[in-house]
């Protein structure tokens, strides 16, 4: 009666197999061209199980997950909106699934047409001059973006620029990316109102500045009001402005990064364009650039010969200044097709609604949560598509932390918000409802939050022990790290 699920390996029995799936064994004679010295001595330890074993095992495992398809999932900075099932069907059409990445352009016109259109849509909604769909996730988009900044300075032989500036609220991928691109990172403080400390920025800027990476709205869940001054400061110093588009959902159709002065941007299609997160991935992180970075876009991209109406690949042979390929082929095609589907269904009016309704939802949720007794981190500010609560008071007075509240929410069948990010707000919960959740779904969440606050006051120990209703209770992370157990053995 335990709900501990065996490992697939524990179902294994020598000689068992799902043998409708494999071709008949070949004879040793058919393998004679492979030298014995290169042959494996023991068969690899994959499980030997039946087809039913596999189907049952993974079906049962799946039921141990929360997911948008089952729960409200207000994970800040992650934009957990509804993933249209129609997009999945379209991307899984046999014609798309069977296309080899290196099929000649003559046999790729349908696929290239989708990419070409998507590139144009993304240019338009971001206000950038060119877009490449190649990066495989947000972080790879960041990498491409910063590599382009570097290529830009390099091309001008402007080689004293060794630093990237990053507001302290930034996502961890920003500094990590800057380092991967060979830069040093200098953090810029954020003020009490959630905006960047402009004075500090001015002081940090200089001839060593390659660029600034930021998101707007920031991960503090507020719109950076001094964006123009920031842009001017960085540009005046000769640096470029990078936009981390993870928060694009907040402003889609309202204000465009290109119009704010950004030189380069990545978008997370697995956020703003509703492609699924798949329990960790895949995503897609297209990059958009202003005029001056066009020569450096990562390849390949889809091109169109207006005369013949033929699509083709733009690759390093036609764009030799490109920073090049970031993967063996051309990015996460299946994700791009899903985003294309989404963009086509939304169309121009739909894009504009995204920013509006995600912002409406976040401001509603914020106000209601304040009303039931929670503390906003930036009470004077509008929420963007997300906002931060701080539980510093509760932590101090009741010894109930943001993590405790997060865990207790699971018992109410609500996924927890993002916890402890951004790091600068103590005991924070970063909450993002998205535009696809109904008011009733938000009201259920509010009711749960209200109940938990009450529990925190009346029975804090219980809250600290939560969750009680999940497949496991709180896990021993220290043991996990100290006594590493990363692969299973009998």
């Amino acid at each position: 009666m335990s709900n501990e699920t065996k490992l697939i390996f524990q179902h294994s029995r020598p000689g068992r197999s799902a043998n409708a799936q494999a071709p008949r064994p070949v004879s040793e004679g058919q393998l004679s061209a492979i030298p014995a010295s290169l042959r494996r001595k023991q068969k690899p330890g994959l499980p030997e199980v039946s087809e039913l074993d596999v189907v049952r095992h993974y079906t049962n495992l799946s039921s141990k997950n929360f997911a948008i398809d089952k729960q409200f999932y207000p994970l800040g900075s992650c934009t957990m909106k509804y993933n249209p099932r129609g997009a999945n069907r379209a991307a899984m059409l046999p014609g798309f699934l069977a296309r080899h990445p290196l099929a000649p352009a003559s046999h790729s016109q349908g696929y290239l047409a989708c990419l070409y259109d998507l590139q144009n849509f993304l240019k338009e909604v971001t206000g950038m001059k060119g877009v490449s769909l190649a990066p495989m996730a947000g972080a790879q988009g960041e990498f491409a973006g910063v590599a382009m900044i570097r290529a830009y300075h390099d091309a001008r032989n402007d080689d004293g620029r060794t630093e990237i500036l990053i507001p302290e609220a930034a996502h961890g991928t920003n500094p990590a990316t800057a380092v991967m691109c060979g830069y040093k990172v200098r953090e810029v403080p954020v003020g009490k109102d959630g905006d960047v400390d402009l004075e500090a920025l001015k002081q940090a800027c200089g001839p060593q500045t390659a660029g600034l990476m930021m998101t707007n709205p920031s991960t503090c869940g507020v719109f950076e009001r001094q964006i123009e001054a920031i842009a001017k400061t960085v540009h005046d110093a000769g640096g470029l402005l990078y936009y981390d588009g993870a928060n694009l959902n907040a402003i889609l159709g309202k204000v465009r990064p290109g119009d704010m002065g950004f030189d380069v941007i990545h978008m997370n299609l697995h956020k703003t364009f509703a492609t699924p997160h798949g329990g960790g991935g895949p995503g897609a992180g297209p990059v958009g650039v202003s005029q001056r970075l066009l020569p450096y876009l990562p390849t390949p991209m889809a091109g169109l010969d207006e005369d013949s109406g033929e699509y083709s690949w733009i690759d390093t042979d036609t764009l030799p200044t490109s920073i090049g390929h970031l993967s063996a082929f051309m990015g996460n095609a299946g994700v791009l097709l899903r985003a294309y589907f989404y963009a086509m269904v939304l169309g121009r009016e739909g894009m504009i609604r995204v920013g509006e309704y995600s912002t409406l939802a976040a401001n509603y949720l914020l106000k209601r949560l304040q009303h039931v007794g929670y503390t906003a981190a930036y009470p004077e500010r509008r929420a963007s598509h997300e906002f931060i609560l701080t539980l510093a008071k509760e932590a101090k007075e009741l010894n109930v932390t943001a993590m405790d509240v997060a865990k207790r929410l699971l018992d109410y069948n609500q996924h927890a918000p993002t916890t402890y990010f951004p790091l600068l707000v103590p005991e924070c919960l970063l909450i993002e409802p998205t535009e696809t959740e109904s008011k009733e779904a938000m009201d259920d969440f509010i009711a749960a939050m209200e109940a938990i606050l009450h529990e925190a006051k009346t029975d804090p120990d219980m809250v600290k022990e939560a969750p009680f209703t999940q497949p496991v209770r709180r896990l021993d992370d220290v043991k996990a790290a100290r006594e590493l157990d990363l692969t299973w053995s009998e």
């Binding site: 596999v54 398809d69 692969t487």
Partner: protein, 452 residues
């Protein structure tokens, strides 16, 4: 409003609660002149699921072809129906990264099983939860080797010319930003292999690692034992780049030479992932236990809960960007989780003997195809080395022209090697378990016609 549930009543109730009059008011912190830079005219009007599906179905149809023998890093294989029917269940498909472990035991256990499967397949100790793809995975492996090889002070790594050129260029595009240099080891023009002879000139030099590709881009099998031992003898780590299907038959990197490879990466696509124009695939990555703290990407550990019950959780997070920021092992965050989930299901379904049969058929079919094609006048094998499931053939004519004419017959007959290796008359051909005798014969007949 597609995908937005709010009714006018909902909107007023929400605005009331906020104390705003219009939605537009919520954007009052955005400087007015920045707003509405465009009315998005480049976008079409929104259409329903029906119309968009029809349009996309027509486009998907446009790209159909009869028969393909393209490989070069992505391979056609039978994918059991169960793989994607389960992987696209909402519980897997629409979950986020398992940050809330208690509510993500499904995904977490899948990853733990996946790590085990990859470790077993490659003969290594540990594996991570996937990187973007094989090529970018190689870049991660190179950077990891630089960190892991404490003995080496260099920023240089040796890379065989016979490695997939797309891997070489992507790897270079990534690592050159940190001033890492990839030096190219040429291959033997007769054998189509990387010979230890060609390495002798690097003896005594400080390189952090040697990359070994098994099979290499030409499908040739390398003498991995000799290469591995050479590298270790010269203070280098060994980064193995392998095809996962082949590992059912070939010596796993963990057993190469006397000590085994140190880091293993490869393209996971052959393990149940559709060709799908190049992605999403996933890169797998494994290493020896002692290097695990240098490995990028997510890693899941098994532990216990409050009540002592088995459970799974993200571990060694101090390597990752969300904790370690600029000191992280990599910037990777979102990975290829769903493809990895599919591969886990695939590996479980196919089993060890099944994967060996798949590999065996790939090899045997490619041999058969090569035999049939080389029976045509003027067509011959380019190299002497044994091959796995790809082979380079010389044609009596310009390869790109021949391939284009085959394509007109809706047969994708292989990849040309002119651009990457200057071999104008050579094609790289692959066959797998999906090809029937009839398929091979169709190809051969078409080739005869084209060459006639």
């Amino acid at each position: 409003m597609p995908y937005i549930p709010h009714t006018p009543d909902d909107v007023s109730a929400m605005l009331d609660a906020i104390g705003a009059e219009r939605i537009e008011d919520l954007f009052d912190e955005i400087p007015a002149h920045l707003k509405a830079g465009s009315s998005l005219d480049a976008l079409p009007e929104g259409r329903g699921e029906m119309e968009v599906t029809r349009l996309m179905a027509e486009r998907a149809e446009q790209d159909r072809y009869a028969l393909s023998f393209l490989g070069g890093g992505a391979y056609q294989h039978h994918i059991p129906a169960a793989v994607w029917e389960i992987a696209t269940r909402g519980e897997f498909y629409t979950a986020y990264t398992p940050y809330q472990a208690e509510a993500s035991q499904g995904t977490l256990q899948v990853i733990y099983e996946y790590q085990t499967l990859i470790a077993r397949l490659t003969g290594m100790d540990v594996a991570n939860a996937s990187v973007y793809d094989g090529a970018s995975g190689l870049a991660e492996a190179v950077l990891m080797a630089l960190r892991a090889n404490r003995k080496s002070k260099s920023n240089r790594v040796l890379v065989p010319e016979a490695l997939n050129p797309r891997y070489r260029s992507a790897c270079d595009a990534i690592v050159r930003n940190q001033d890492v240099a990839l030096d190219t080891v040429p291959f033997c023009g007769q054998a189509g292999q990387t010979l230890t002879d060609s390495l002798s000139k690097y003896e005594g030099e400080d390189y952090a690692a040697l990359v070994i590709s098994q099979p290499n881009y030409f499908g040739s099998l390398e003498d991995v034992d000799a290469l591995t031992n050479w590298a270790h003898a010269n203070g280098m780590l060994v980064i193995a780049v392998v095809n996962p299907t082949s590992l059912a038959l070939l010596t796993p990197p963990g057993e190469w030479g006397s000590e085994g490879a140190d880091i293993v990466v490869g393209e996971g696509q052959p393990l149940g992932i559709p060709l799908s124009s190049g992605g999403p695939y996933f890169g797998f990555m494994a290493c020896k236990q002692k290097h695990v703290r240098q490995m990028p990407g997510r890693i899941i550990g098994r532990t216990v809960d409050l009540e002592g019950k088995q459970g799974f959780t993200l571990t060694l997070q101090a390597r990752e960007q969300h904790i370690r920021r600029s000191k992280a092992t990599s910037n990777i965050c979102t990975n290829q989780g769903l493809a990895m989930t599919a591969a886990t299901i695939y590996m479980s379904l196919i089993g060890p003997d099944g994967l060996a049969s798949v590999a065996g058929h790939c090899h045997a079919n490619t041999q058969k195809l090569a035999d049939k094609l080389t029976a045509i006048d003027g067509v011959e094998r380019a190299f002497t080395a044994p091959t796995f499931h790809e082979v380079v053939l010389f044609l009596p004519q310009d390869a790109d022209t021949v391939l284009a004419r085959l394509a007109e017959k809706d047969i994708l007959g292989g990849l040309g090697l002119a651009k990457d290796y200057g071999m104008k008359n050579a094609i790289l051909v692959n066959a797998t378990e999906v090809h029937t005798e009839g398929d091979l014969d169709l190809f051969v007949a078409a080739m005869k016609e084209v060459l006639a």
